[in-house]
Subunit: 218 residues, 2 copies
DNA sequence: AGTCTTTTGAGAGTTACTGTCATTTGACAG
DNA sequence: CTGTCAAATGACAGTAACTCTCAAAAGACT
């Protein structure tokens, strides 16, 4: 599973898939769960900022959020997951699959990335910066970013495979997904280490330009 | 530190850097250490093969190698490191830096990769296959491959920076290193999952061809 | 043979997780 | 409003990967 529980299956293709996943049926019991999840995350980030990621224990986080450690692990499989998981993968996938099949894949990615990031910028810029900064600075998190099941690389591979309508991806698809995944990660991390000040669209452009050029001149 | 202790600094540029690091001054005390390291690794791989990576504890490995757990951790910083560290990074770096500066970087990489792998093939094919297979199959290892300090990505970034004769790498260098690192990893892993039967040169060729083409047609 | 340094092992402690079970809490029917 | 059921929680015990400290053992060199 690459995301936190989607609570409801997506019924039909929404016009703007990035916005779409944000309105949930919002059951009654679910509100509490959501609030708990948010509280835990918020307290965790606060403690991370004060003491650093590695000096903060799960126990401390749980205490600060007023839940038991058991509960912490029911919400987040690992301490890393608290930082690394996000809810946007399915939206990315949908958006990418909605692109015309004859569009060069790099171009699709460029467009979707830009749109995605702009949305995030409006809604949770600060949290995104904090998270990505943590990822660059904590080796364990940087590594965790590449776990097979929720990495950008895996996301792109999924899309490429589905787009081609095949079961198993070809080697060329794997290589492509690896390259794009690595490169987009680099872009986002760079943007975050600059405090989110840099023009993200420009960054994405430079990144994909390099890929599309086949690295001439370097 | 990206490698196991080199025991002696490289005195001068060797004709074949890949071969070079293999003859050590071979001190007297060092032999025992080397033997211990090899024994631990060998026993570990044996146990991994029998029971799997995750079902094998460090304690078991230490027992099988007839050392204490303390000693295990003196030789390998983590259980992952046992699988992930290798001695070839410095050789790769040297080889890459010896390439003509005006050669396109992708071409340098392609050449050095091929040479490197051919050497490994002759000397430790089976171990390489086993290791890379483990890496593909165990999520923790796959993630560990990307820890900032010993990843292929970091290696390529080092070379690009030094080659340009600057202190801090540019963003373009970072992106390039990320892409090449991801893609070469993919090639090696694919080769290993095929049991090392596939033609590695051909695989490398396909991989770099894709990168050089800027992914036209995908 | 004696001294000095490096390597080793023993043991205690921390922390991220896992699994189990009893208790609580919200959902819903009547 | 009450009783019933399922889901969420907390308390607790256990495992395994590390970390630190210190004393014993072993190689190096005089």
């Amino acid at each position: 599973m690459t995301t936190e529980q989607p609570t409801a299956a997506l019924p039909d293709a929404p016009t703007n898939p990035v916005q779409a996943l944000l309105e949930a049926p919002l059951s009654l019991r679910e509100r509490k769960k959501l609030k708990t999840r948010q509280t835990v995350r918020r307290e965790a980030y606060r403690l991370f900022a004060e003491q650093g990621y590695e000096n903060t224990t799960v126990e401390q986080i749980a205490a600060a959020a007023e839940v038991s450690p058991s509960t912490f692990f029911r919400y987040f499989a690992t301490k890393e997951d608290l930082v690394l998981t996000d809810e946007y993968d399915p939206a990315m996938i949908t958006a990418l699959l909605e692109r015309p099949t004859d569009e060069p894949f790099l171009q699709s990615c460029r467009a979707v990335m830009t749109g995605m990031i702009h949305h995030l910028l409006e809604h949770e810029r600060q949290e995104l910066v904090t998270r990505m900064r943590l990822v660059t600075e904590v080796p364990a998190l940087r590594a965790g970013l590449h776990r097979a099941d929720n990495s950008p690389q895996e996301l792109f591979l999924t899309v490429l495979t589905r787009r081609a309508g095949v079961e198993e991806p070809t080697y060329e698809m794997r290589v492509t997904a690896a390259a794009i995944g690595a490169v987009t990660t680099e872009a986002v991390l760079r943007w975050a280490t600059g405090g989110g000040q840099e023009d993200i669209a420009g960054l994405v452009d430079r990144t994909f330009a390099l890929l599309e050029s086949g690295f001439v001149g370097v």
